[in-house]
């Protein structure tokens, strides 16, 4: 998109949207507000935005002492703690780039990230040291390690060198720092996508991105100094969805859980209740675990006023209802991605819909991903790139444009096809947008079968096959076809008691009730098991390879 010059304005154009201004603002106006952080020993550490801002300045001073320059990349491998929150400001504020390292990556992926980003120093939680130790021999650019720990450096057992203590660095450093006036379009931080195919790809967020996203998020989630925000989303996931920045910008009380797991979810609930949390966010699996625990409590706590953003995938309606019935917690469905900085849509109500819809319809409405947030431009297109109507029915690929949407992957040749010529990012998600602007996702493009220029949803088809009482599980993939480009193949595992009692014809007849004739699979194969990935998802890549030539000669 060309940028057109108009008449000159008289504004202060040198005023940049910098991340450091967010916490400066918090220290100046909400200096006494609390930040609460759960330590490894389970104790709650408490200090204020004022305290935090002094340590953020010390952190920046100590980066200078370490020789870190504007533009350098710094790796961070850490749980959600007050120190992580300090790094969120001190590292980008100084002009360096905070590269968030995901502890769930394989050593191969993680060392690739370190080398690709050219990381000079890695800041790491003491209890995650083993992850860094495993990749250190493969990391070519790293000059030192800063350990986030309450222990003395001499008491640490590690092969890494040279090592520094975060706390020692801060206590030696100057408590005031002259922040550079950074060009807002420069990188503040980076996240790498895990990438089911190929190598991780880097998304480098500018200061402007992060600032605008934080403001948009706070505006739409109505975050204010009256709130208590609980940072459950890992801060290595898309900047914790931007919540740490939104909370700081608005002076909300911020609560950080430290390291936690689904098994220790009771600790999360305890904090939720004790700190009187009013806003949090997480993926459905976390919410499910929280709900299950809440249901077991007698009585279940009253969490009135708590809004819980749920993203990653669609929250089941039963879960949303149960949260509300049990604790008066409101689940707000949100949609985003690493490439679009976490929050693209929020499912917020509208007064006229509240009047027009029945209670059940309002619940159904809450399942949608929500409407596009201000600042972003969205369109849905068919496979030829033609824009489709927002009628709630027509399904197409979701394209995004806007300040906090990816324009290109960092140094990733071959990834250009994820962007359109007119500057949209191809999300790879497929769905419809209704006349009210609500997006409803149906598929990922990679789960769609392209047959004769039309799409068939493999996910829908799988769900429908599984609805047949004889079926245990099913997978549907698109296979190359000389005439139709792709045609569906269904793999079906029957329940033991139905083995040999159900044939292809019966499955096709079952499907014909919901699918058009041309959409039905050309073949249905009965198998013993369906290949799965390491995280338990259907391994469609493997299925496609195994059955590659099935339709080749038809």
């Amino acid at each position: 998109m060309d940028i057109i010059k108009g008449f000159p304005a008289t504004s202060q154009n040198s005023s940049q949207l910098n991340i450091i201004n967010i916490i400066k603002h918090a220290a100046r106006n909400f200096g006494r507000q609390e930040i609460v952080s759960r330590k490894q020993d389970g104790k709650m550490f408490r200090y204020t935005y004022n305290d935090a801002y002094e340590r953020v300045q010390r952190l920046a001073s100590s980066l200078t002492s370490l020789g870190v320059m504007v533009g350098d990349r710094i790796g961070v491998l850490a749980s959600n703690s007050y120190r992580n929150h300090e790094m969120y400001f001190g590292i980008p504020g100084s002009g360096a780039v905070m590269v968030l390292m995901n502890p769930r990556f394989t050593s191969q992926e993680l060392s690739y990230v370190v080398n690709h980003a050219g990381i000079r120093f890695i800041f790491v939680d003491d209890d995650l040291l083993h992850i860094v130790e495993a990749i250190a021999p493969m990391c070519e650019t790293v000059q030192g390690y800063v350990i986030l720990t309450d222990k003395k450096l001499g008491d640490m057992e590690t092969k890494l060198e040279p090592i520094h203590s975060y706390e020692d660095c801060l206590s030696k450093a100057a408590p005031a720092y002259e922040w550079p006036n950074l060009d807002e379009t420069c990188a503040s931080s980076a996240c790498y996508t895990s990438g089911t195919t190929g190598k991780p790809k880097g998304v480098y967020y500018s200061h402007r991105d992060v600032y605008l996203q934080a403001m948009m998020y706070a505006l739409n989630a109505k975050i204010s100094v009256m709130d208590c925000v609980f940072q459950i989303v890992p801060m290595f996931h898309v900047l914790g969805w931007g919540t740490p920045y939104s909370a700081t910008m608005t002076g909300a009380k911020l609560v950080l859980p430290g390291k936690y797991s689904l098994e220790g979810i009771d600790k999360i609930i305890k904090i939720l209740v004790q700190e009187k949390v009013t806003l949090s966010a997480g993926v459905p699996s976390i919410l499910r675990a929280i709900l299950n625990h809440l249901l077991k409590m007698d009585p279940s706590p009253d969490l009135t006023g708590l809004r819980f953003l749920c993203g990653g995938s669609e929250p089941p309606l039963s879960m949303m209802k149960s949260f509300w019935d049990t604790t008066k917690t409101e689940i707000v469905h949100t949609y985003g991605s690493t490439e679009a900085q976490a929050i693209v849509t929020l499912n917020l109500p509208k007064p006229w819909l509240n009047k027009e819809l029945s209670e059940e319809e309002r619940w159904e409405q809450k399942k949608k991903q929500g409407y596009i947030m201000v600042g972003l431009d969205v369109k849905i297109v068919d496979s030829s790139g033609k824009e489709l109507p927002h009628d709630g029915e027509t399904v197409g690929e979701i394209l995004l444009r806007g300040p906090w949407v990816l324009g290109k992957y960092h140094d990733a040749p071959g990834s250009e096809d994820q962007f359109t010529k007119d500057g949209y990012f191809r999300t790879g998600d497929v769905g419809a947008i209704d006349s009210e602007g609500y997006l409803k996702l149906t598929d990922r493009t990679k789960d769609l079968i392209k047959s004769g220029g039309e799409w068939i949803s493999s996910v829908d088809m799988e769900n429908e096959i599984v609805n047949h009482p004889a079926v245990f599980e099913a997978a549907v993939v698109g296979l190359a076809h000389p005439k139709w480009e792709e045609r569906p193949l269904a793999l079906v595992v029957l329940r033991d008691e139905f083995k040999t009692k159900v044939d292809k014809k019966e499955i096709l007849e079952h499907l014909a009730k919901r699918f058009a004739k041309w959409q039905l699979p050309d073949d249905v194969l009965f198998v013993e098991t369906i290949p799965k990935t390491s995280v338990g998802k259907i391994d469609k890549k493997l299925i496609r390879i195994e059955y590659e030539d099935v339709y080749a000669d038809r």
Copy 2:
């Protein structure tokens, strides 16, 4: 301020913060929301954001037909109506600059603005035509007039030519428009300060300014689609304080009062109640008039949930309390200026202050101007430019920096001294900032007397003289003094019954109870009247000229 380049980000940098995206967003997601506008005949015109956006596109198409180019300046002289709201988007969206013309300016001032801005077309309400007719012979650059009217063009009696009808233009124009991707730092609109000294000065707001201000305002005033926003502040005053943009961005219902006056305030109240307004803004004189009318109603309406921003000058505590007691309306004190796009501070509560302060202290707190909004940088300095502490006591001049703060006046040689070398705008306002960030204004710099490097508040001194029972009114000005730079002179008008019974010594002794000896006026002159400006303020400029040499030889 230099801008430092860092590591490149991967964002969509061509995505600009453009005003047109605000109403596109509203049409897409809040298309059915209402805009309500009072017509001249008193009837309420109702349509939706969808309807508005179509007309905004038609407006832009018709600008092209008129020959308007990117960067051209278009004058707007209009009351708060749906057409004005359309122009707020259509004119800047097309790339032209909307220059807001203040009908309260003198003909001399207004024609100066038109020529200084180089306005090509003037859009004018039919009932404000006489103002344009009076200045037309002096306007050198205007090529045509577009009349905002329900009447037919043939029925209009006017000497202006050529004239166009806004409605005819729109109905002939294409209903879709391809918006240019404008550089966000370019001018979207302009306001001219009335300027008690010298000629009006132009402030040209960039698209970025307006967008960021609108977002910040909506965030802090918590505006959402659930709100009903009543645009009482004239839209020719600092973009109506940005409220039309904030309301549109959040999809709030927007109510526009048309032309109104303090005498017809009952019409405003009727709308306030009938439309269930939840947010509005105005200067204390409007609020006072509204309150007086509300108090006379039996019963006074319950306006629970209504927040009323009050700016321009400090709202009296009694007024704020009475609003609350009578109707549960919450008055929120705000501070800003044409140069800082209306909203610089808002007086918002904090949970810890709510706990710590008594009810009476909380009311006192509400008198302060509030804390600085996110995005802006503030400092207070003494006369030498040294930064002063935020202790709530130390008083200095307020300097501002930030995206929506003026960097320079448009083409106004000699105005450079209103900016510091490090890029701050000198507001000319004097006050203190407390440790919580709340600003409390005490004076305008031009009302301060600079004596031997120290400041004396002329306003405080006037108030104290008037507290003497014999005094009817008083004025205090600083006059040039060879030794002290300036020294105060007091002019006093005695009440008839005290004439000749009070002398200079008595006035000085009265003042000495509250002022230091060095602050007391060098002379007190008893006069019959005090010179006033056309709007009834003490004309200090005239007094200074008249008494110019009084201290010259001392």
